[in-house]
Structure formats: structure tokens, C-alpha cells
Subunit: 399 residues, 2 copies
């Protein structure tokens, strides 16, 4: 049997690097990296190319492509085919040698290449949750049409996928996503208002990229995951709950109609979920990875999420209930607001204000095709930017 | 479709009554009680007969049979066929109308009728763990030969059964049984030495019969469950672990080779496990039963079992490792010792001493057939009785 071909969208990010680490932990007969797409981290990408010798790579621009070729030259590595921009991403995600596409570009940029991979019938290991938030219906329809498998790499959805392995859809009462509660779970509300970027980046249990870490601090990450779960598993908003679990040991749970609850637990290392998605439906020994030691952990805590502290969670439920294009508007506004917070332009607590403003102004439409989603994404970003500019001015005047 | 025929061995005990309560919670088209076996609780049995109108009942003796008939007469209830003793138990467990036999007689008495049910190809919902401890190999072979299903009603094994639903045997690394730790988990060791029957009966989370409650206080219950798990699921002693979990919310866990851990959680109500076994492979809504509320529970704790406090657990592992007839000897000695403690003749901490004495003296043999097991059971009880008499005398002399 030939090795499974792997393509990675976002190879130099957190999930991308962890995916390569999982691939490296297996014999070469199992996996072969055929295509990599990265943004601008040319040095890291060059090292990945040297190690894995993919047939195709993609970077964000011609300038980066030149830099990559120069870097490969310095290393004495034969250059693969190099593509750029949106077309490059699609070339990677539909590469003929790819059996499984790891979709790990943060935000809306990963949307089109992921859809193309599903349309091409490729297994997609999905870490880019925005894709399902923006257009879950399009994505799942494309997967159903081509017969492509959609496997979640998010630890929570990966956990749900595992809990649901032996169960029938109609015998499930609800999905329960766990949330760490982020760094502000027990702090006074004022600490959230005055939070610096460094404080908001202090995630209690997971080490991840900047955007998702901020989403964890606002609980928007969990909100996006509720929407993601709706599309991955086909349950409605009233069948998906969130429980705060600061230790992040229980990755998620499923309650069955007979009252039984099945949970998946593990150490907080994304490589477990990535390996699960790559090797599914088989499970392979994860030799080098740490094992869960319940006795050492001692105590696991659970509490309800505080709606006052985390308005983003309610906004996400509102978007899911309304359906149509509203989740895409929420996602676009959130991405802009998080970027503005990371850029020091607005406060952490401004993020839900920006999103709510955009949602209130949004005229929800049906998601008929890709163009509708992309149009809503663009328009919502513009609206969010305007609101961010207004807030920045207000804060400036207040200083 | 005709209703599923249910026979119950031990209908007036804790599991028996809960089984009837589950049956009563479903429409009559689903289940029909065809045969009941009880010991001497004639009043309760008569009420069960009045309610469920089984075709056959069995009681321990002719005297009890007369009492039952008289009681039914007083109630104006037409008497079913009444059998007695060991033959009566087998008549119930092999009743032609029974599709599923709930085996819930505590101790070695349930052994033969359960084996006969499996030989007859009936699904057995097993709450009598001693059956598998004494002769797991005979039982599982009989089930394999006839194609009978063996479904555990113990909450822990029921949990393992649920965790294993979607998994392959070779992809499981280990089973992890949870133990409440009983009433002496945090007490000084001296409290265990001087424990009264009332103190030992104070189980922190489950309300059960006397014998199993004492087994929980010594952790022998968990030891028996480790042996039971070996036969139910086919894993060796090094693949079965025990973790103390005082809240008894996580009923057990399974660790997979890839490091993922699947757990089953639920409220501490045996009716859940009973319903699971009766309705398997389907899950039916459990309308009246309480649901698990993780947020209300708040905290779950885990710790390793203390080998000094709970020598019974090590004795059980020793018996499992040696195999053959040693587990049957351990079980017989334990039953005698627990009865002696309940009768006020020995101390709680004498129980492991009695068992160890019997095990040390036991010449382990292969379990070739039923006779070997029954012979070992008889001989070990006699030895245990002698040791109990000796200890009683020592304690008497010390007073």
C-alpha cells in the first residue's frame, strides 16, 4: 500500500507544525507530505521542505516565493513547485497526491481551499473552525456530494467524534462542549476590561495561536465551536451545551437519551487529535506523547459559563439560532475585533460590542452559494472596522 | 413483535426490585416478566407476582412455597407454577419464555442457574459477579458456544461495555475501574479495625445489599470486579487498573493505544445499567430517572487506592494472576468472612486475613468443569469457617 498523501494548509502555524510532528512519529510507509501552504514564515517553511520534500508549496505572495527559493538555495535543497496567493492555497488543497488535507489556516482565508478539497472528495482534517461557522451548510453538502470525510482536529470536536463512535444519532440527547474558561474566569470583571494582550494570551491549559487564544479569553472560541458542532454532527442549538471545565482534561461529553454520559479525556496536546484524524478509523500507538494520569491530576472541576462575563457565547447561540448568513457576519466581525485588540486598538471587552453592532445591522440571508458568504464576510469586516475606528477614537478621547 | 421475556434470579433483592422498576417504566409491549426466583421474602415476592403475573416462580424451600401460596390466596391472586431450591433456580433461568435472564442472586448460589441460562443461549444481564469470579472461563465458553450475550449490570462493567462500543479490542491499552473507596477511605486505619457493621454499611454513594456493601468497604468488590472484567472483556491483569473516585460519577474508563481515554458517567442509580442491559443494543429514554448535572456536582476527585488500607485488592490481583481455581477459593473465603463480619463474629480487618489463609493453603488447579469449581467452593468455605472460628476464639480471649 502506498503511504497516505498529506497536504497541509497552514503548515508553519501551531496545528501545521504539530501535524508534521505526528507524521514524523510514524514510519514513512504510513504518511507522505505532498503539499504545504504557509503564509510568510519562509524560514520555517524552508526547513519543512528540506525535511519532507513535498511536490508543491504555496506562500502568500511572489515576494515570499522569491525568499523561499533563495532560502532553499542556501540550504542546497531542490525547490518544489511554488505557487502563491489564493490560487496557491487551492492548488495545495486539491493536489492530486493528497488523500487527506489538514485545514489549519486561521480565519476566513482557509474557506475556499477547504471547500475545494471537500468537493474533490478528499478527507479533510479540519482545524479551521471558521470554515464551518461561515458556511457549514455548503461545506457539509459538498462533503456529502463527493463522499469526503470531514474529521475535526479541534480537541473538543475530536472528543465528540470519539464519544459518538458507538452511538446512533437518534439516541443522543445532547453534546456538551467543555471550555477552560480562559484566563479571566475567576478574575474581577474590571480585570477583563483593562486586560493587556499579554494577560489575555495567558491561556490556562493550551498553548495555541494568538487569534484562538483571544477567542478562548472571550469564550467566543466556544461559541464558534457550538456552531461548528452543529454542522459536524447535525444537532440543533438546544442540543448543544457548554460547561466550563478549567482543567481541560475532559475534552467534551455526549449525553445519551437513556441518561448515560460518554466523555473523552486526554492530555492537552493537539497532536492527539491530529493523530486521531490522520489515522481514523484506526487508532495507532502514540509512543512519544504523554499519557493521562488521572490520579496525578486529582481533581476535575465543572461550572456553568457566566453569561455576564462572556457575552460572546450568547452572541454565537443567537447567530446559530438565526442561521443563514448571521454566523458568517459574527465570524467576520470577531476576526476584525480580535485583530484590533491584538493591535492595541480596542479593549478585550470591546470585542463583543463590535460583534453585536455588526449582527444588529445584518440583514440575514440564505447561504445559497460561496459568493453570498464572501460578500457578507467583506461587508461585515468593513462594518466592524468602522465600529473599531469609532471605539478607538472614543478611548483616545477618554485618555 | 412479542415482548421480550424476562426472568429474574433474585427478584426480591436490590437489583431484582430495580429490574422490575425498569420493566414497569416501559410499555407492556416491550417487556414481559415470565419467571421470578427469590429466597425467603415471601411477602415481597407475592406482591411482584400480583403485579407481573409470571408463569413460574421459585423460592428457597417447600416451607416458603407454602407460605407464598397462602399469601397469594389471601390476595386473591391465581398462583403460578411454584418450584423450589436449586432446581427451581434452574427452571427459572432456563424458562422457555425467557429471552433475557437477570442474574442477581448474591454469591455462589447463582452460579449454576446462570451457567444453564448461557448454555440455553439466553441473554444474561449479569449482576452476580461471583459467577465470573468463580468460573469465568466456563461461563464465557458456554456463552461463546451457544451464542448467548453476556451483558454486565454492575455499573462499572456496564460503563466499560459502553466505553468499548465503538472500539476495537486490539486498540485498547487498559481498562480503568473506578472505586468509591468506601466509608473508610479517609478514616484512620484504627477506625477500620474497630468498625461496627453499621459503620461498614455506610456506603458513601450507592445504596446496595449487605454483602456487596461490605465488599466495597474492604475494596474486595473492586478486586472481584477486576476478575470479572478479565472475563467479560478479555483483558489481562496488567491491562486492568483501579482508580479511587469518591463521587462515583465516572463509572469507569478505557484508555486506548493512542492515549485517548473514554469514560462513562452517570448518576448513581442501578436502574440505568439495568435498562442498558435490557434494551441493548438500543438505548431508550429513561424518563423518570434523574439526569447527571456536572455543573451541580462541581468537583470530581481521583486518587490511587491505598494498598495498606485495602489488602483485599492485592489478593484479588494475586488470584487473577494465578488463575485456575484460586479466584474461586478467594471468592468462597470472602463470602464466609463477610458473613462472619455481618454476624459479629470477626472484625472487618479480619476479612483479608481469612482470605489470605485460605489462598495460601489452596493448591490451584485448572477449571475443567463445574464440579471442580463447586468442590473448591465447598472446601474453601470449610477452611474459611475454621479460620473464622479460630479468630473468634482469639478475639473472645482478648476481650
Amino acid at each position: 500500500m502506498r503511504p497516505q498523501g498529506i497536504a497541509i494548509l497552514g503548515s508553519t502555524g501551531s496545528i501545521g507544525c504539530n501535524t508534521l510532528s505526528v507524521v514524523e512519529s510514524f514510519p514513512e510507509e504510513l504518511f507522505r507530505v505532498v503539499a504545504l501552504a504557509a503564509g510568510g514564515n519562509v524560514a520555517r517553511l524552508a526547513a519543512q521542505v528540506e525535511r519532507h520534500r513535498p511536490e508543491l508549496v504555496s506562500v502568500e505572495s511572489e515576494v515570499r516565493a522569491e525568499e523561499l527559493l533563495a532560502e532553499l538555495g542556501r540550504r542546497g535543497v531542490r525547490a518544489p513547485r511554488v505557487e502563491t496567493g489564493d490560487a496557491g492555497l487551492v492548488a495545495v488543497s486539491t493536489h492530486e497526491g493528497a488523500d487527506c488535507v489538514v485545514s489549519a489556516i486561521v480565519g476566513a482565508v482557509g474557506f475556499v481551499p477547504t471547500l475545494r478539497a471537500l468537493e474533490a472528495g478528499k478527507r479533510v482534517a479540519l482545524a479551521n473552525k471558521e470554515t464551518l461557522v461561515m458556511a457549514g451548510e455548503l461545506m457539509t453538502k459538498a462533503a456529502a456530494l463527493s463522499g469526503a470525510e470531514l474529521l475535526p482536529v479541534d480537541s473538543e470536536h475530536n472528543a465528540l467524534h470519539q464519544c459518538l463512535r458507538g452511538e446512533r444519532r437518534e439516541e443522543v440527547r445532547r453534546l456538551i462542549l467543555t471550555a477552560s474558561g480562559g484566563p479571566f474566569r475567576t478574575k474581577p470583571l474590571s480585570a477583563m476590561e483593562n486586560a493587556t494582550v499579554a494577560e489575555a494570551m495567558r491561556h490556562p491549559t493550551w498553548s495555541m495561536g494568538a487569534k484562538i487564544t483571544i477567542d478562548c479569553a472571550t469564550l467566543m472560541n466556544k461559541g464558534l465551536e457550538v456552531i461548528e458542532a452543529r454542522w459536524l454532527f447535525g444537532y440543533g442549538p438546544d442540543e448543544i451545551d457548554v460547561v466550563v471545565h478549567p482543567e481541560s482534561v475532559v475534552h467534551s461529553l455526549v449525553e445519551l437519551v437513556d441518561g448515560s454520559v460518554i466523555a473523552q479525556l486526554g492530555v492537552t496536546d493537539m497532536r492527539h487529535a491530529i493523530q486521531y484524524a490522520l489515522t481514523y478509523p484506526e487508532r495507532h500507538p502514540s509512543g512519544a506523547l504523554a499519557r493521562l494520569d488521572l490520579m496525578k491530576l486529582g481533581t476535575l472541576n465543572f461550572e456553568p459559563p457566566d453569561p455576564e462575563r462572556f457575552p460572546c457565547l450568547s452572541l454565537a447561540y443567537r447567530a446559530l439560532r438565526a442561521g443563514g448568513t448571521l454566523p458568517a457576519a459574527l465570524n467576520a466581525a470577531n476576526e476584525e475585533a480580535v485583530a484590533a485588540f491584538l493591535g492595541g486598538r480596542i479593549r478585550l471587552t470591546d470585542i463583543p460590542l463590535v460583534i453585536e453592532k455588526v449582527m444588529d445591522a445584518h440583514a440575514t440571508r440564505e447561504v445559497k452559494d460561496l459568493d453570498v458568504v464572501l460578500e457578507v464576510d467583506r461587508a461585515s469586516r468593513a462594518q466592524a472596522s468602522a465600529e473599531i475606528a469609532r471605539l478607538t477614537e472614543v478611548h483616545g478621547a477618554m485618555r
